[in-house]
Amino acid sequence: MKYKNPILLFWMLAILLTSCTKETAPPTAPTFQKPGVFIVNEGNFTTGNASLTWYQPEKDSVTQDAFYAVNKVPLGDVANYMTSYKDKGFIVVNNSGIVYVINLETGAFLGKISGLTSPREILILDDNHAWVSDLYNKHLSVVDLHTYEVTGIIALQGRTSESMVRIGEKVFINNWSKLNQIPTNNMVLVLDAATGTITDSITVSREPNSMVVDANHKLWVLCSGGYDNAEYPALYQINPNSDSIEKKLTFPNKNTNPFSLGINGAGNKLWFLNEDIYKMDITDSQLPDTPWVTSGSNNFYSLGVRPDQESVYVSDALDYVRNGNIYVYSASGALTGSFEAGIIPGNFCFVY
């Protein structure tokens, strides 16, 4: 049986080959001690590589893949938004159609809201209820926070929804996407927080993409003017009592695309991205001409302001396929730190 040896050799070679491949060790479970910030990395559409990065500025420590490290599953497909409520974190994973609920301190899975079509953001109304906006559905989903079940819907007059901002008993909802609707996407809807009925609507410029509330309880709405640059971009100040526009600041260049409006904890200064970073005072009567920080070769993608300090976090999505970077700027605009996050860092959730 002379020929046996070469056969054996072959199988040994095959087995050797398997042992050549190295495995990447899973990270050890981190904990999430305040203060810190969760960075929601969108990941690439239909790839399921969204992730959560945890950053503690005081220690300058970064935990990548924080959700995976604790729960041993990926965050999902296109994570869009995260918010905290008491001791819980809610992470909206758009193309997975779910909202994960985690323990804010341990990151451990507590439950999930599933069966959503294309969820964008979640607004926690109280201990019992939350609303979830949707990129494609023309209604909000009403969620029972004890069972995490969708218990009802709120129709939005044939419009899709993006951000939800609550001021007193009113909730303001911007209609950002034109993708799946007939009406022009230039509206902020006003809903009664208790009943969910639409009480008013405010026409703004096309593609309102972000909203914040200032120290005087005024609503600020930033509109890009449309992906096709149909209108001039504009920033609006709205009186939430009368639902009327008090100020409209129009951008001079139709071909720009301002987005990602942020505000400091004191509620008196605004930041937004328009290729570069811009900063203005809520009392300013015109838009800033010059950038606060220029982008250089960075691809600025999202902005967040730490509420308890005036530090501004801006993400650089690079080429959208590699891990992006986060740059941290002080109140004076000086770069005080930078670190790597995940693929397309798109949203910040500060925990303090």
Binding site: Y3, N49, V73, S114, L116, S118, Y227, V321, R322
Partner: protein, 656 residues
């Protein structure tokens, strides 16, 4: 020559089985070699480039595989599969899927839109022979195959194996597979009809660790139904002239399952793809003395329909999203080939390919076409009976624009007079045109893209040895270094749609090793063979160096992959063991391996046991096959579920 007796057929197929590398045939008796050559399609085998022929033993035993499964098990080509019945693409030597050209009877079947071929839609039973051309050698068949080419052929002179061959299999997860071939002959005419029908519920269980809570689940919405027929006629007009007509028609319908992270998505997603294609070739062959002339024309038509619908969670009549995308492509192709042996050691060849593609797509702004003409000429000269020189030059005119010249130069050296030891080396330049999607996709298509420019070098050694009267071995090792500039990549633009650019300069280098051993000992036959490929593919463009990601392996290209095949036969029993190893792959271009984005290596094993009964006019065979014997849970593409252990039982009948 017609072979009627099954015993002869059996012996012949065993003989063919022992020639994994086409060149290996040289070591067998000249008498049998002659019979083998009847089936062979490629006309020269002492080449300067690397070529592999998938052998008939494999083809016979793996009749129900699709071409992707076949290549991943029996070649060094890397196959990326999204799951059984889902898209599968193949790449040679660390290049991309669109750098692999698939030619059916000399005509490229790559989609003019996407530039690639879905290997899962190519049933193995529809072809007589599968050949692989690596790197520069592909220029002999077409331009643009920067990685290599897969050549599928239906031999027009194939001897009758049986009047009727029917094969039926039943498998796990509601899988059915039927294949049949009817072979009729009358005087100088042959008519062959092949039909295929495959369907599967494909609802296999898998462990979903892509969402919480992690648990065993059944694959959803992954069923498929494919059916088709291939009709072939050939006429022997006289001993040196031959006419043939072939028509391949197929209907595929597949549902598209969600990725593992998206199984809880609402809106009752309904997602499927339907494809119909018809591919028709008419050919004339003249082969007399030292002249061979071939003229062929083809008409291809393909209709593709992608559909995605979601509804509101509470009202299934209310549509939320609807994508209803339809693409029609048609192609008219003509080619002429001429080959002339001038002297005993000197052969000239020349040819012309005229291709016209036409695409109507809801994703393009209007009708898009491409017209290209390619001419080539080459020579093959042998010196001192030991050195063979191959020169080829190809020139392509595309929509009125001339591409730079594509030259190929290669040399083959038989090192020892009495041993089958060959050294070879080649260098070539090749251009890959942007696909019509690259140019015209709306939105994002970039009409100003340049062709990808490949400079390819390779060298190899092969050695065949007849160890004893009943034992033969072959080993082959190859190294290659390919530099592809203007490599096209899609990247998101400012307005969130993606757009392609000539961005990268990709260096793909590595080595391939293949070996086989064939033994006949009394009533026992053994066969063992294997492939191993090491590939390192990185982007070395100025941009990559500046941004610090040069030197990183491109996504979905394993550094190591290989396979091995053990075959044993005793009388009418046979046993096969097929083993495949795929090394770890990154799925993003990140510097540090992120745990959740790195796909670990996996090792798959399939075994099968078969028995054959030979009656007077009928052969009957039964086969049981266990796939993924060790029930490995793995992913070939991130968060795409793959089946664990599964069983397939096949019955085959041959009426002689």
């Amino acid at each position: 020559m017609l072979l009627r007796k099954h015993k002869t057929v059996f012996f012949l197929s065993w003989l063919m089985a022992t020639t994994m590398i086409a060149r290996g045939q040289a070591i067998f008796d000249t008498l049998n070699l002659h019979e083998f050559e009847v089936i062979g399609v490629l006309d020269s085998y002492e080449d300067s480039y690397k070529k592999t022929t998938l052998d008939t033993l494999v083809k016979r035993h793996f009749e129900h595989l699709d071409l992707g499964e076949l290549l991943s098990a029996f070649s060094p080509v890397f196959v990326k599969s999204y799951g059984k019945g889902s898209i599968s693409t193949a790449s040679f030597r660390g290049t991309s899927a669109s750098h692999t050209k698939v030619l059916w009877n000399d005509f490229t079947i790559n989609s003019p839109m996407l530039g690639q071929v879905d290997f899962s839609t190519i049933p193995e039973s529809f072809f007589d022979e599968v050949n692989l051309l690596y790197g520069g050698g592909s220029l002999y068949q077409s331009g643009g195959a920067l990685g290599g080419s897969v050549l599928l052929s239906n031999s027009t002179l194939i001897p009758r194996k049986s009047l009727l061959h029917v094969s039926q299999s039943l498998g796990s997860f509601g899988s059915f597979n039927t294949a049949a071939t009817l072979h009729l002959e009358k005087k100088k005419m042959i008519a062959e009809t092949r039909v295929m029908l495959q369907s599967s519920k494909n609802d296999f269980p898998y462990y979903n660790n892509g969402t919480l809570p992690s648990q065993w689940m059944k694959q959803q919405n992954a069923s498929f139904l494919n059916g088709g027929f291939l009709q072939q006629f050939s006429w022997q007009l006289n001993p040196w002239q031959h006419l043939s007509l072939m028509s391949w028609n197929q209907w595929n319908r597949r549902n598209i399952p969600p990725i593992m992270t998206n199984v809880y998505k609402g809106g009752n997603p309904e997602e499927y793809q339907k494809t119909f294609f018809t591919r028709n070739v008419i050919g004339w062959l003249y082969h007399k003395d030292k002249t061979r002339i071939e003229m062929k024309s083809a008409w291809f038509f393909e209709k593709q329909h992608y559909y995605l619908k979601t509804t509101t969670a509470n009202d299934s009549a209310q549509t939320v999203t609807l994508i209803d995308s339809k693409n029609n492509t048609s192609g008219f192709y003509t080619k002429g080939k001429w080959k002339q042996q001038l002297k005993k050691n000197f052969t000239l060849r020349a040819g012309i390919d005229i291709d016209y593609d036409r695409v109507e797509s809801s994703n393009y702004s209007d009708l898009k076409t491409r017209f290209s003409t390619s001419i080539y000429t080459g020579l093959n000269k042998q010196f001192l009976k030991r050195v063979t020189l191959d020169l080829l030059i190809r020139e392509e005119l595309v929509d009125g624009k001339l591409l730079p010249v594509m030259p190929y130069a290669g040399v083959n050296y038989k090192a020892l007079k009495k041993e089958e030891l060959y050294f070879r080396a080649s260098v070539s330049r090749n251009y890959h045109l942007p696909t019509l999607n690259d140019l015209y996709w709306y939105p994002g298509g970039n009409p100003s893209l340049k062709p990808e420019d490949g400079l390819e070098t390779e060298a190899g050694i092969s050695y065949m040895k007849k160890l004893t009267k009943n034992m033969a071995a072959a080993i082959e090792i190859n190294g290659f270094y390919n530099k592809i500039s203007n490599w096209i990549q899609w990247k998101p633009s400012d307005y969130r749609f993606w757009t392609p650019e000539n961005m990268a300069e990709v260096h793909a280098r590595g080595m391939e090793l293949s070996a086989s051993l064939n033994v006949r000992a009394g009533l026992w036959h053994y066969r063992i063979s294997g492939f191993y490929a090491y590939t390192r593919t990185t982007d070395e463009s100025a941009l990559a160096i500046e941004k610090g990601y040069s030197g990183r392996q491109l996504i979905y290209i394993p550094a190591h992959h290989g396979n091995a095949f053990l075959y044993m036969a005793y009388k009418n029993w046979n046993f096969g063991w097929n083993s495949m190893i795929t090394g770890s792959r990154t799925t993003t271009m990140n510097p540090a391996d992120s745990y959740s984005n790195t796909l670990p290596a996996y090792w798959l094993n399939n075994i099968q046991l078969g028995k054959k009964w030979l009656f007077n006019k009928i052969d009957v065979a039964m086969q049981i096959k266990i796939n993924n014997v060790f029930n490995v849970q793995y992913q070939a593409v991130i968060w795409r579920a793959m089946p664990g252990r599964n069983i397939e039982i096949t019955a085959k009948i041959d009426i002689l």
